[in-house]
């Protein structure tokens, strides 16, 4: 028994060490980018266009571009995702059809982001002739976040107690009326969480938008959904891998990385906070 105890001490030490390594590495990355990036941040950095061949100035067009792309993606994916989740939780009977649909959703979630990019290029940019534009990029990102939205909405709908539905149906309401008036309002905070997570995912993706929406540099803001835009993640990639001015633009790179990181983590944090408060509140 004593040997076992010592064995356990050693093993637990190993587990603690692993946890410490992962947490400290992840913490170090964020701390490092925060420290280097914060000195590059200023009001001008956030509100001005890049200047002098992107070696000076700010990231305003990239911020606006990312905003357009993520908004477009969520406008497209949220209704589709919620409707799909309503079918799966409220209407579908367990069976082969539902299994196939679920398999489809799971596999769509696993499609590599670069493949979404290829698909967007082949279908939206070339076949439907939308060109490299906000529309093409938004549709591509929308498809990418669809599984996230469906899963979160499904989870939210499943969390609504059966009694909500029974009470409404007992009053003579139709099935759709029950869903629309009793189930959806109660599930809306959970659905919102899913939407926010989707926005966070769409804002940080690079590979799907390179050939469908993003351009290196444009000082003008988009006027229509058929315009190309700059985007934050692509801007960071361009600055960091463009060889000639690497040293000179380093502060801009740190600044862009921090803004992107802050934006995505901030969005996800909002989702986590809503979810945590929801779990505390939902005692039905």
């Amino acid at each position: 028994m004593k040997g076992q105890q010592i064995y356990q001490q050693v093993a637990f030490l190993g587990l603690r060490l692993s946890t410490l390594i992962i947490i400290s590495v992840l913490g170090l990355i964020i701390w490092f980018l925060g420290k280097r990036g914060v000195s590059a941040l200023s009001w001008e950095f956030l509100t001005q266009a890049p200047r002098n061949g992107m070696t000076e100035g700010g990231i305003f067009p990239a911020l606006i571009g990312t905003l357009c792309l993520t908004l477009g993606a969520i406008i497209f994916a949220l209704p589709l995702g919620v409707f799909a989740a309503i079918y799966l939780t409220e209407y579908a009977k367990q069976g082969r059809l539902v299994r196939i649909i679920r398999l489809g959703i799971n596999n769509l979630a696993g499609v590599p982001s670069v493949v979404f990019g290829l698909f967007g290029l082949a279908m939206f940019v070339e076949y439907l002739r939308f060109g490299s534009s906000i529309l093409s990029g938004s549709l591509t990102l929308g498809i990418l976040i669809l599984p996230t939205i469906i899963r979160a909405s499904e989870e939210a709908l499943l969390a609504i107690p059966q009694t909500f539905r029974e009470a409404s149906l007992a009053l003579g309401a139709s099935r759709w009326h029950t869903i629309y008036k009793a189930v959806l309002p109660a599930a809306s905070p959970g659905i919102l969480t899913g939407a926010i997570l989707g926005i966070g995912r769409a804002a940080g993706e690079t590979a799907p938008i390179i050939f469908t929406a993003a351009c290196f540099y444009t000082p003008r803001l988009p006027h229509s959904i058929f315009d190309q835009v700059m985007a934050l993640p692509f801007h960071l990639y361009v600055l960091a891998t463009e060889g000639t001015h690497f040293e000179k633009t380093l502060p801009l790179q740190y600044g862009t990385a921090l803004v992107l990181l802050g934006l995505v983590l901030g969005i996800n944090l909002i989702a986590v906070v809503i979810r945590t408060r929801l779990r505390r509140k939902m005692r039905w």
Binding site: M1, Q4, Y7, Q8, A11, F12, L15, R16, S18, T19, I22, I23, L26, I29, L33, F83, A84, Y87, L88, Y91, A92, I101, N107, L108, G110, V111, P112, S113, V114, V115, F116, G117, L118, F119, A122, M123, E126, Y127, L146, I150, S174, R175, W176, G204, T206, A207, I210, F211, F234, L236, Y237, A240, T241, A257, L260, V264, L265, N268, L269, T276
Partner: protein, 296 residues
């Protein structure tokens, strides 16, 4: 005026239509990848494409052998899972079996939050911090190597491994642990002989999905793997994984040309590799699922 029943029927089928969109999209993705990628197979036999040892798309005549790209992907993925799986599973066991409930409740959301860090940010960190470090440490001509990519991919994939493994461990009924501890075993013995085996299907799923994340990751390998399309002998060489190659060359490939088609064909290969991994993960998590205390 449609009857109430008719209206309900319509609405139900409308929702069914929306639910089927995921499958429709999946088929559309396949259709468009094949439409653009198949022409290269007519010029280059599938075997020569998959196992050809040289990738020279701009030579005259061009060579489209993607074995170096597949090996590049394999090298960085193996390196990544060598980091992410041991550390990730150990951390999951710690959070689920050892850590105080408060520590767990603090760290779990933090780790889930970190799973959302954009990959281009990891790529950037690898470029400015890890690459110079690897270069100095091993005295290399360049720090952009398979090892650098492996480290960043491992860090990126570990939150996925931790999160899914921890869910699996936490869902093992507490009665399993109590039964084992009541027999006088230590917590470590219980964890390793009872809890981990009971959660093994979930942990395996976590490892496969972590691996899939590493294979499909694009920006990190594009930025730090070095980009040399040669079959690597060691992890200290630059490599050019499949995903990085698509992004790196798509800009210069002529639309509809052989090169363009070859890049889509790489997309087809990637699509089926990740599809296979996802189906495997799905199969394991369903097939070997513990369905309650009666199954043991």
């Amino acid at each position: 005026m449609i009857s109430r029943k008719g209206k309900e029927f319509l609405i139900q089928n409308l929702f069914l239509f929306f639910a089927s969109i995921s499958i429709v999209v999946l088929f559309l993705i396949m259709a468009f990848l094949f439409k653009e990628g198949l022409p290269i197979i007519e010029v280059f036999s599938p075997l020569r494409f998959l196992f050809g040892k040289s990738w020279y798309p701009t030579y005259e005549p061009p060579e489209f052998g993607i074995l170096p790209l597949i090996m590049g992907s394999a090298a960085v993925t193996l390196g990544a899972i060598a980091i992410a799986i041991p550390l990730g599973v150990a951390t999951a066991i710690y959070l689920s079996e050892v850590a105080h409930i408060r520590v767990k409740e603090l760290l779990k959301p933090v780790i889930e939050l970190l799973a959302g860090v954009p990959s281009v940010v990891y790529g950037f960190f690898g470029l400015v911090v890890v690459a110079p470090w690897v270069q100095d440490l091993f005295d290399l001509p360049t720090g952009l190597t398979a090892l650098t990519a492996s480290i960043m991919l491992g860090i990126m994939a570990s939150p996925t491994v931790i999160s899914i493994s921890e869910d699996a461990l936490s869902s093992v009924p507490i009665s399993y642990r109590e039964a084992s501890l009541a027999l006088g075993t230590t917590r470590w013995y219980t964890a390793i002989k009872v809890t981990v085996p009971a959660a093994l299907s979930g942990i395996s799923t976590a490892c496969i999905l972590g691996m899939a994340r590493a294979i499909e990751e694009t920006m990190i390998v594009l930025m730090v793997a070095g980009g040399a399309a040669v079959i690597p002998r060691t992890l200290l060489q630059p490599v050019r994984p499949m995903t990085a190659n698509i992004i790196a060359e798509m800009g210069e490939a002529v639309h509809g040309g052989e090169h363009y088609s070859a890049l889509f064909a790489i997309g087809v290969v990637l699509f089926f590799i990740t599809l296979a991994l996802n189906l495997l993960a799905d199969f394991i998590s369903h097939r070997f699922k513990e369905t309650g205390s009666a199954t043991l």
